[in-house]
Assembly symmetry: C2
Homo-oligomer: 205 residues x 2
DNA sequence: TAGATTGTTAATCGATTAACAATC
DNA sequence: TAGATTGTTAATCGATTAACAATC
């Protein structure tokens, strides 16, 4: 069955399924079951079947799911059956690590430009890119039609940079700055803050 | 009221409250309300009151919460009223960025040792640390009593390194490798995979 | 005191699980 | 055909919200 409005929590699990399936495909596997996929990602088979069935009937009774077919479908659903240009703002250590990161390849993303507000960093070469002046964010992002940005600036600058990005048309922000951003509800934010993630585990130690 | 078993989803929000409160304190604020805190972090006031009240009566009718007091309590609850030694495995770009990251200070963590399996990296100085041979993980982590590790190794090595870490006593893993880990249920894992996080947003573009 | 805001209850809403007919 | 596994339903479980008495 196809539902109209898919809960965020389900959408959030799809990339995890996608990643596991990509790995299975790399290992030469052709089919899998909700049971097997569930064991890989630590989610119940029932939930995986329910999640996937929100988008269509992609499996076959008796044999499970064709990995290649389900990969195609998930990529299409998540709109990563294309390559998205991503802007990176902040050319510090984290920005450098992301700029050199190979893990965006084949996952739907490509860093297209890097900005920094620090004039000593502007002009620096990082891989194939030259760091551009943060003053040019609005102009460059608008003319390139970029919708996705990664933010690796200090917390004190994050909100104002986010505002500028959104103003320029960005609709998805991956925020590495350790601060909650306030954004309009047509803009999505995901947070990566290692300290916060670690603090989610210390409670249980 | 104090509940015995706190849902994971509530524990997961506490670090976000903690971070916002720390910021308020840095800005010189003395008290806040569930309403105000909620606006900062994008969560309803009712939910914040409910979450916090699981652990005790930390607020005052009419005036709200003392920021300093609530900070103390949250740090205590999350067990970050101390400094945890953390092992970092993987001295690539991401490992370097984390080794140089200033954001663990005052959040309860300190990197204590860095490992890599690549013999050309062993001995390298990163900040105040010298990269140690991954062969020594078991021995060093056990003798230091380390419970927390960050994993920035390739996906292909992540599971076997995780197994070694757990064997040596690690109970919390922050995994930067783009792969789901299988761990016993007395071990916690948090995942940081920029591609996965980005894919959670493209659905909505 | 009057106003503000908590902690808590009950109602609502949403997510997960278990079970199984359908069917490959 | 016999065995396996899906998609879906209904039941259960859990989380969020709204409302308000208590009280600072």
């Amino acid at each position: 069955m196809k539902a109209d409005k898919i809960p965020d929590i389900i959408v959030g699990r799809l990339p995890v399924y996608l990643r596991a399936l990509q790995r299975m495909a790399d290992n030469g596997l052709k089919t899998t079951s909700s049971q097997e996929l569930g064991e890989h990602v630590g989610i119940s088979a029932a939930q995986i079947r329910k999640d996937i069935s929100q988008f269509g009937d992609f499996g076959k009774q008796g044999t499970g799911y064709s990995i290649a077919y389900l990969l195609d479908k998930l990529r299409e659903i998540l709109k990563v059956d294309r390559i998205w240009d991503v802007a990176l703002v902040g050319a510090g250590d984290m920005g450098h690590a992301l700029a050199n990161y190979q893990g965006f390849e084949n996952r739907g993303f490509r860093i297209a430009m890097i900005f920094d507000a620090d004039s000593t960093k502007v002009g620096e070469k990082i891989g194939e890119f030259v760091v551009e002046d943060a003053e040019k964010i609005a102009e460059k992002i608008k003319s390139a039609g970029i919708k996705i940005a990664m933010l690796t600036v200090p917390a004190s600058a994050a909100q104002s940079v986010a505002d500028k990005l959104i103003q320029a048309g960005v609709r998805a922000i991956l925020n590495y700055a350790p601060i909650s951003l306030t954004v309009p509800n047509n803009v999505k934010v995901q947070y990566i803050d290692p300290s916060t993630h670690l603090q989610r585990m210390t409670y249980y130690l």
